[in-house]
């Protein structure tokens, strides 16, 4: 009896492994989890994208629930999420922008053409993005009243993402 099990067990283990790999291929998404969830937002200070306007720094995030969104004019998917961001801003959620490795003129033209959902926009040459644990654009963080990061979305936000995830989270954090 034991003898037979010795034959069955490796085959069963192998089959399990195959199933595991297959499921891993199908299900596992490419999105990396953030190490900063439930941690305070990093200390940073960015110069403004548009001269004469205020820059963007850690202190701005305290006192209200807000979104921090990284974007760049050279990033095509960033273009897709602008309508969702504009609608979100109109509903009263402040959105702070981190313009990542961009040329200021191109970024300003982009905002003028597509719409400006941002309360403040800081221009980053790459250092602050690392502090936020970003590995591309667009990425969006939800920051609570105390300045803690509570949620991260990688890739463009769709209207569905906003309705299903962002707005309920904002409502819960504002309570």
């Amino acid at each position: 009896m034991l003898h037979r099990w010795l034959f069955v067990l490796p085959v069963a283990l192998f089959a399990l492994l195959i199933v595991g790999f297959y499921v891993g291929l199908e299900v596992h998404s490419d999105v990396l989890p953030s190490a900063l969830i439930d941690k305070p937002a990093p200390e940073f200070s960015l110069p403004p994208l548009i001269k004469g306007q205020p820059g963007f720094s850690t202190g701005d995030l305290k006192g209200h629930v807000s979104l921090v969104n990284s974007f760049a004019s050279w990033c095509a998917p960033c273009r897709d999420e602008v309508p969702a961001l504009v609608a979100l801003a109109r509903s009263g959620v402040p959105i702070y922008g981190i313009d990542y490795k961009d040329t200021p003129d191109a970024a300003r033209a982009w905002i003028t053409a597509l719409g400006d959902p941002y309360t403040r926009i800081g221009a980053d040459s790459g250092g602050v993005a690392i502090d936020w644990g970003m590995y591309g654009v667009p990425e969006t963080f939800l920051v609570d009243r105390t300045g803690r990061i509570r949620y991260k979305h990688v890739g463009p936000l769709s209207e569905a993402d906003v309705a299903r995830t962002i707005l309920p989270l904002v409502a819960r954090l504002e309570q």
Binding site: L6, L25, E26, H28, S29, D30, V31, L32, P33, S34, A35, L36, P42, A72, W74, C75, A76, P77, C78, D80, Y100, K101, G126, G127, A129, I130, D131, W132, G133, Y135, G136, V137, P138, E139, V154, G155, P156
Partner: protein, 192 residues
Amino acid sequence: MITRRNDRHCEAPQRRRSNPDPVKHSHTGLLRYARNDLWTVLLVACTWFFASPPAFAVLPSEMLANPALEARAEHIGFELRCLVCRDQSIEESQADLAHDLRMLVRRRLLAGDTDAQVIAYIRSRYGDYVLLKPPFEVSTWLLWGGPGLVLAFGALGIARFLYRRRSNAEPPPLNADEQQRLAAALGKAGDA
């Protein structure tokens, strides 16, 4: 079927690289050997083939002037994953983020950080995934212990097999009746 890298998430456009691959320079060196000794060439070629050197993506302009610090920076860089390419270290990757992380490592070292502090600094921002060698933790014991477990299982199986074979190796001696039958059979064979 297979999930592709998230094409809805951009990495910064790659910077232009002016320096050729540093490994290529040594090809001319090999040709010089060819005139002297074929065996040396073969030996070098084999060594080269089997021990492919780490590919550096570091630009000369990125390197620190202090060779000891630069060596530490490279050592750290090979431990850290490039989050864009995933299967390369930041020292090997030409991605823009890898470049930024290499520079960050070097800045931290210049500021006087220890190797562990530099790694902790980057790990606090990108999580365990940034470490190419995952830490030994409760959640990773199977990853680290798995091969040992399989080895132990296999060794047990082989030991069992060998033990059985040895105990089967020498059958009990023939009794008188069996010996008689054997002699009879052999005798018959001899007659034929």
